[in-house]
């Protein structure tokens, strides 16, 4: 969990307050009880001392109240809202009311109530009402609440219901209530894409030599049988709507599609589908094109992608320097050039990613390389799957024979601007891999952060703070080959030998 830095300003105020109170207390102890003053002077002295003490107590309390500071001494910062949630609260510019229904016997509910109170103190436009529905059933019935741990977020006549005790989800609910427009992510289907309804995943990493996910000619890892359900759920947690889009039947990309996601198309587009995609981008649409190895672009789609200034190559990037786990074909990206998409993204990794060649884009488009492999990386040609072939590939054998040339490869780009003079401004992101967005790899490292950031940029929401809901994943320990061998040696070899050796020493001494 992300946590805000220590608020030194508030800490200084609190320290100063404590010092001031101690000084006043020490001064009070030095005041003489017997002054020797008689008559009204003595009474005035006593009344004055009482009044000053009372005034100082009121002053101290008011001062502390106006410089509210919150210390969370737990190691996990259990009682501190996440930094992203706090930043989202800082951005609240219109009045929002959160009515939180919790059971006062439930520690998780009480924690959420306390975190909401801290968030409300951060921004006066956020009003928080915490209600135990058993004690105040009228309000619960008014808000149609029948469950515990539910937050009703209301802003400008809109109402969002958030279930749970996670303050980040409530912060996302606040963003949703304030958004004021619907954002629809259309998942393209019909070409063997990762289905948005599929939640199947693997909890292990495997290469082509092991589990069979791969293109036969490569060691790369691909997940053709898995889905993008986790990506869909993460988008829905952001308040986006998700729907399927089958271009072959619909004929056109609906205007309701704020962004279009083509995650791992496997079979070739029809020319009309490529034309519909181009028309959508000309109308100012946004597209995320995850074009994995083996996918052959239909000429119309290839022309569109070339207009965007890129050409996905039929080769796999091998990165001996920067890779995830022990597989150099799972390219890891640890640094990014400045761009709104990668502003707060750390390590991401791409199993079996194809390289992208930059071309001169259409006149009004700006192309920014987002993802680059390390300078030690090289590419290895991979033959397209025969069934996907549109044109004979005469270069494969020749390239396979040539020695690899090391150098940074472009793995993904962001494109922004107009396709032609009469077109509306569009946005697109093209990545030479889709596995990183599949259920098996989406939650790990910063892959989910990157994809959510991509979706927010495509939806033109990059100015608001990104608050990502957590994706529950089984615990995973990633070991390098050397670490795996060390564990094996310790458990299977060294420890039994140690027991035998100790037994031998004991026998020797008793002999």
């Amino acid at each position: 969990m992300e946590h805000p830095e220590l608020d030194w300003n508030a800490l200084l105020w609190a320290g100063g307050w404590l010092a001031a109170v101690l000084v006043l207390f020490a001064t009070g102890l030095r005041l003489p009880l017997q002054t020797g003053l008689a008559g009204w002077r003595g009474r005035a002295y006593s009344a004055g001392v009482i009044l000053i003490a009372f005034g100082a107590a009121v002053l101290a309390n008011v001062a502390l109240h106006l410089h509210d500071v919150h210390f969370d001494l737990t190691r996990e910062k259990v009682y501190t809202p996440s930094g992203a949630a706090m930043r989202a609260i800082d951005e609240v510019s219109r009045e929002v009311t959160v009515t939180y229904f919790y059971r006062s016997q439930d520690p998780a509910g009480r924690r959420a109530r306390d975190l909401l109170a801290i968030m409300a103190r951060r921004n006066p436009l956020l009003k928080v009402v915490a209600v135990d529905p058993d004690r105040d059933p009228r309000l619960a019935r008014e808000k149609a609440i029948q469950i515990y741990n539910a937050a009703v977020v209301e802003a400008e006549g809109r109402r969002v219901l958030v279930q749970g005790t996670d303050e980040t989800e409530i912060a996302i609910g606040i963003q949703r209530a304030l958004r004021g427009r619907a954002i629809t992510a259309c998942f393209l289907e019909g070409h063997g894409e990762l289905p948005m309804d599929n939640f199947e995943y693997h909890t292990h990493l495997e290469s082509g030599a092991g589990h069979s996910h791969d293109d036969a000619s490569s060691q790369v890892v691909e997940m053709p049988g898995h889905g993008a359900g986790r990506l869909r759920r993460a988008l829905e947690a952001q308040g986006y709507e998700a729907r399927k889009l089958i271009l072959a039947t619909e004929g056109d990309v609906p205007a309701a599609c704020t962004l279009l996601i083509a995650a791992n198309p496997r079979t070739t587009f029809l020319p009309a589908e490529s034309a519909a995609l181009r028309a959508y981008l000309r109308r100012g649409g946004s597209a995320l094109l995850l074009l994995d190895l083996g996918f052959v672009l239909e000429p119309g789609l290839a022309r569109l992608v070339a207009e965007l200034g890129v050409r996905p190559e039929q080769d796999v990037v091998v990165d001996p320097l920067s890779h995830y786990s022990t597989n150099p074909e799972i390219v890891a990206v640890t640094g990014y050039d400045p761009h709104p998409v990668t502003r707060s993204v750390s390590l991401t990794f791409y199993p079996g990613v194809r390289s992208i060649t930059l071309l001169p884009p259409a006149s009004d488009l700006r192309v920014t390389p987002l993802l680059l492999s390390s300078r030690d990386s090289y590419t290895r040609p991979v033959k397209p799957v025969a069934s996907h072939k549109v044109e004979p590939d005469s270069t494969g054998e020749k390239d396979a024979a040539s020695p690899p040339v090391s150098g940074a490869r472009v793995l993904g780009v962001a494109v922004e601007g107009r396709l032609d003079r009469d077109a509306e401004p569009m946005r697109a992101i093209v990545v030479g891999d889709s596995d990183f967005a599949s259920n098996s790899f989406f939650p790990y490292m910063a892959n989910s952060d990157l994809l959510l950031s991509v979706a927010r940029w495509l939806a033109r929401e990059e100015r608001t703070t990104a608050v990502a809901a957590r994706v529950p994943v089984p615990p995973l320990i990633a070991l390098t080959g050397r670490q795996s061998n060390a564990v094996f040696f310790m458990v299977v070899v060294a420890m039994p030998l140690l027991v035998i050796a100790l037994g031998f020493v004991v026998w020797w001494r008793w002999r």
Partner: protein, 180 residues
């Protein structure tokens, strides 16, 4: 201390420590071996309840115990098989404890009307052998979640949330009596 004395003393201390652990410890509680414990607000054993008075709206029903599961009206009419349900309702009042108790201080500022206790949906009075009032309970509305029911005990400022099956048993007894 000399070395030959040190070890026996340390061993004796270790034994004493283990003995202290045995004396001060407790058997781990295993859920399947937990002893049954009646947690209801009716503290007396159910068999000691000899008379039941129910009221719902303007209707009043009085039943007298004639046996373990036999109950009769004040006119001496045996209610037959319905008596089993009365005994069961008394048993549940003895066995089933409140899911939640809200102190009177916790209700300050709350609107009492939604609890449905003024007037109550259903009132139950249980009397003992000597005609002494053992328990008088009033059942109100269900909580917003719908699984619990508000209940109040006469002379007790606390508000109880009981499983809805507790009041439900009495409601069925009342409905059966009204149908007779």
């Amino acid at each position: 201390m000399r070395r030959h004395v040190l070890h026996p003393v340390l061993a004796a201390l270790a034994l004493l420590y283990l003995a202290a652990m045995v004396v001060s410890g407790a058997m781990p509680v295993q859920r399947q071996l937990v002893r049954f414990e009646a947690k209801g607000l009716l503290k007396r054993v159910p068999e000691e309840v000899k008379r039941v008075e129910l009221s719902r709206g303007t209707r009043r029903v009085t039943l007298l115990r004639a046996g373990e599961t036999e109950w009769v009206t004040p006119d001496g009419v045996n209610i037959g098989a319905a008596g089993l349900q009365v005994s069961k309702a008394v048993q549940i009042m003895h066995n089933s404890g409140p899911v939640r108790e809200i102190e009177a201080a916790g209700l300050v500022g709350s609107d009492p009307a939604p609890f449905g206790l003024d007037p109550p949906r259903l009132s139950v009075k249980l009397y003992g052998r000597d005609g002494d009032l053992v328990l008088a309970a009033s059942f109100g509305e269900f909580n917003p979640e719908g699984y619990l029911q508000y209940m109040r005990i006469d002379g007790n400022p606390r508000l109880y949330l009981m499983s809805r099956f507790v009041g439900g048993e009495w409601a069925e007894v009342m409905t059966g009596a009204e149908a007779r």
